[in-house]
């Protein structure tokens, strides 16, 4: 059992812990991309704590000048437990801080914070990794709870815009898939990840009648990456991540300036000292094709600490 767990631990440490990326300018936390990239082994607890800073300052198209600066700081606690060799469960609890600072006028920074939307997830290892199998295939289903506040109000009592709400106010479904391949004896791993988030309706304006329905656009995300073991305790990885977001819907009509396509480059360093590990990661946009005019992520940096309990 211990050896088996060790094999998976080595395997996991050779991969990026998660595929970080913020949801750009919409509400809530980067919950989708914070899902651990692999499934947890049977009988094993896995704990990770990630701090992430997402700088949101780029306005597209470029001829449009920014009128505000935003950032999101997140603290994500990820707890996973392997029920068996095949099944594992995950709980992700975010705490977020959201900031918006106008570039004009005298108003200062608007800062909100609070518990974000919690994600619960079940993963199934179709092909578990072990001495024989140097590849892994897993799928999962997640349910995102509207645990974060989405009705915070400003000084005069008006509900703040979504980019300042810690939660989305909706129940969302997450479909997750993962494949990886080790190329022993070469210290290289290849991995591929798919996510799809089907967002539910929320009552963004806390009203009744025809305007009570708001729906953030569904999100498809995939990532392809390579990991290279430089030393037994040091891995380098890089992945390319693609994200497509559909337009938001308000009263069943598409909302302008929402939705688009993003491609990010995500380099990372993993430092492993079993059963602990540290991970430092960045995220840079390399391609963006956004609908209309949007403010979006300039860069993201994150640091994770993770710990396995056998």
């Amino acid at each position: 059992m211990f050896i088996k767990s060790l094999v998976q631990l080595i395997f996991v440490f050779s991969l990026p812990l998660s595929l970080f990326a913020q949801t750009c300018c919409s509400a809530g936390t980067p919950i989708l991309s914070a899902i651990n990239i692999s499934a947890t082994n049977g009988g094993q607890w896995q704990l990770s704590l990630t701090a992430e800073h997402n700088s949101i300052q780029d306005v597209l198209p470029r001829v449009i000048s920014p009128r505000e600066e935003r950032f999101t700081n997140s603290l994500l606690l990820d707890v996973s437990y392997g029920i068996s060799e095949r099944f594992s469960i995950t709980l992700i609890v975010p705490y977020v801080q959201l900031s918006q600072t106008p570039l004009f006028g005298s108003q200062g920074q608007i800062l909100t914070n609070g518990l974000g939307d919690i994600l619960t997830m079940v993963k199934y290892n179709i092909i578990p990794v072990n001495f024989v199998n140097q590849n892994q295939l897993a799928v999962g289903y997640g349910l995102k709870l509207p645990s974060g506040r989405s009705d915070l109000r400003g000084g005069l009592g008006a509900i703040l815009a979504p980019q300042l709400q810690p939660g989305t106010g909706s129940w969302d479904h997450v479909l997750w898939g993962f494949y990886s391949q080790n190329f022993r004896p070469e210290p290289i791993s290849l991995f591929f990840n798919l996510n799809y988030r089907l967002n539910g309706d929320n009552n963004r304006f806390q009203t009744s009648g025809p305007f009570s329905s708001y729906k953030f656009g569904n999100v498809f995300s995939s990532a392809l990456g390579l990991s290279y073991r430089l030393r037994p305790s040091l891995d380098l990885s890089a992945l390319v991540r693609y994200r497509h977001t559909e337009k938001d819907l308000f009263a069943d009509v598409e909302v302008p300036n929402t939705g688009g396509d993003w491609v990010y480059l995500v380099p990372a360093i993993n430092i492993n000292f079993d059963p602990y590990g540290l991970r430092f990661s960045g995220q840079l946009p390399v391609f963006r094709n956004l609908t209309g005019i949007q403010i979006t992520t300039s860069f993201t940096v994150s640091a994770s600490f993770y710990y396995f309990i056998f």
Binding site: I64, S65, R67, V93, G108, G157, A158, F205
Partner: protein, 356 residues
């Protein structure tokens, strides 16, 4: 170890839940409880207070220096003391408020409404000049301004202070006329135009409309409204006239076949409504001169230069209600509270409106 881990997890969740999310913004002024309009129908538009910057030192240029306006672009015209000023929607879409010397031009791109406000507000019995800014708040998806004298909040289409020290008071309005750049060029070649060199954004920005197909998509709204009325497509432009409690809407499209002149009564007041869908304007004035009471009757004429309608005294008028020829040259018709609007917005603010 597992026990420690569970304790840590519990502590994290407890800490997250126990922290009361709150804004850390600078004072927005006023009180959250003293709204004249339903507080739960006031929404944050997103950019924050002054996040959409008003133009406070407008630079005006001659028409022959203007290269960023097309003939069909909508503009707002203001006249005072013989000085004519033009403010293009292309610029107002990004600023919403221009604090010019004699008027604050307010424009809400989400309701398509331009309303002129006198910059002098009365505070403690004294008139004081102020400027207005964009509060970042919306009521019935319409602009709420704030004044920089008292930090009070003003609903543009309700035309009233709705929160703050001046709550309940009404602004003094100035006459604005909305039409196309072509029509203005044909009528007022000497007018000055708000430059796209605003000092805030690059000139290219003003060639981009910020809300996609919002102006033409009848079913697309960005914020809730309190009343919907399907008698007319939502984004059709109407001239709304409010006198007393009598609200009337005149469809611009109904003014076909040249300039139409309607002598009407609204709210017990004799008014004249003049419109031309081809030249893209519709205006309403009281049927008497400013500071006078004699009621006039009006009729259409063969348009020539600025002259677009006439009265029973032999005066010819321009689109601003100014006598341009005849015995009362120099006089001007008294203004009404009227402006062009998307139909949905007018119907949201004035559910009992008549439709003409």
């Amino acid at each position: 170890m597992k026990v420690m881990f569970i304790v840590f997890l519990t502590g994290f969740i407890f800490y997250s839940c126990a922290t009361d999310p709150a804004t850390n913004s600078s004072s927005l002024g006023g009180s959250a409880d003293d709204w004249l309009i339903p507080k739960n129908e006031v929404f944050d538009g997103g950019p924050g207070k002054d996040g959409i910057p008003s133009i406070d030192n407008p630079k005006m240029v001659a028409m022959d220096e203007v290269d960023f306006l097309e003939d069909n672009d909508l503009v707002v015209l203001f006249s005072k003391g013989g000085k004519l000023s033009i403010y293009a929607h292309k610029i107002l879409d990004w600023h919403e408020i221009v604090n010019d010397a004699d008027v604050t031009v307010s424009y809400c791109p989400l309701t398509g409404t331009s309303i002129g406000i006198n910059r002098n507000l009365e505070q403690n019995g004294q008139k004081k000049k102020t400027s207005f800014g964009v509060s970042g708040l919306l009521y019935n998806t319409n602009l709420i301004l704030y004044d920089r004298l008292t930090d009070s909040y003003w609903s543009q289409m309700k035309n009233q202070c709705v929160a703050g020290d001046l709550v309940g008071t009404f602004p003094q309005n100035e006459i604005l006329v909305e039409t196309t750049y072509k029509t203005v060029k044909e009528m007022f070649s000497s007018a000055q135009v708000l430059s796209n060199n605003t000092g805030y954004y690059g000139k290219e920005q003003y060639g981009n409309y910020p809300y996609g197909d919002y102006k033409t998509n009848n079913s697309r709204l960005l914020f809730p409204v309190s009343n919907t009325d399907t008698r007319v497509p939502g984004k059709e432009r109407v001239l709304g006239v409010l006198i007393g409690n009598d609200a009337q809407a005149f469809r611009l499209s109904s003014f076909s076949g040249g300039t139409n002149v309607i002598n009407s009564t609204i709210g017990g007041e004799a008014v004249v409504v003049v419109g031309n869908s081809k030249r893209n304007f519709s205006v309403a004035y009281k049927s008497h001169f400013t500071n006078k009471t004699t009621t006039l009757t009006f009729a259409s004429i063969a348009e020539s230069g600025q002259s677009i309608f006439k009265d029973n005294l032999g005066n010819n008028y321009n689109i601003l209600g100014e006598v341009v020829s005849g015995p009362n040259i120099g006089e001007r018709l008294a203004g009404t509270h009227s402006y062009m609007s998307f139909w949905f917005a007018w119907a949201a603010f004035y559910p009992a409106t008549g439709l003409n």
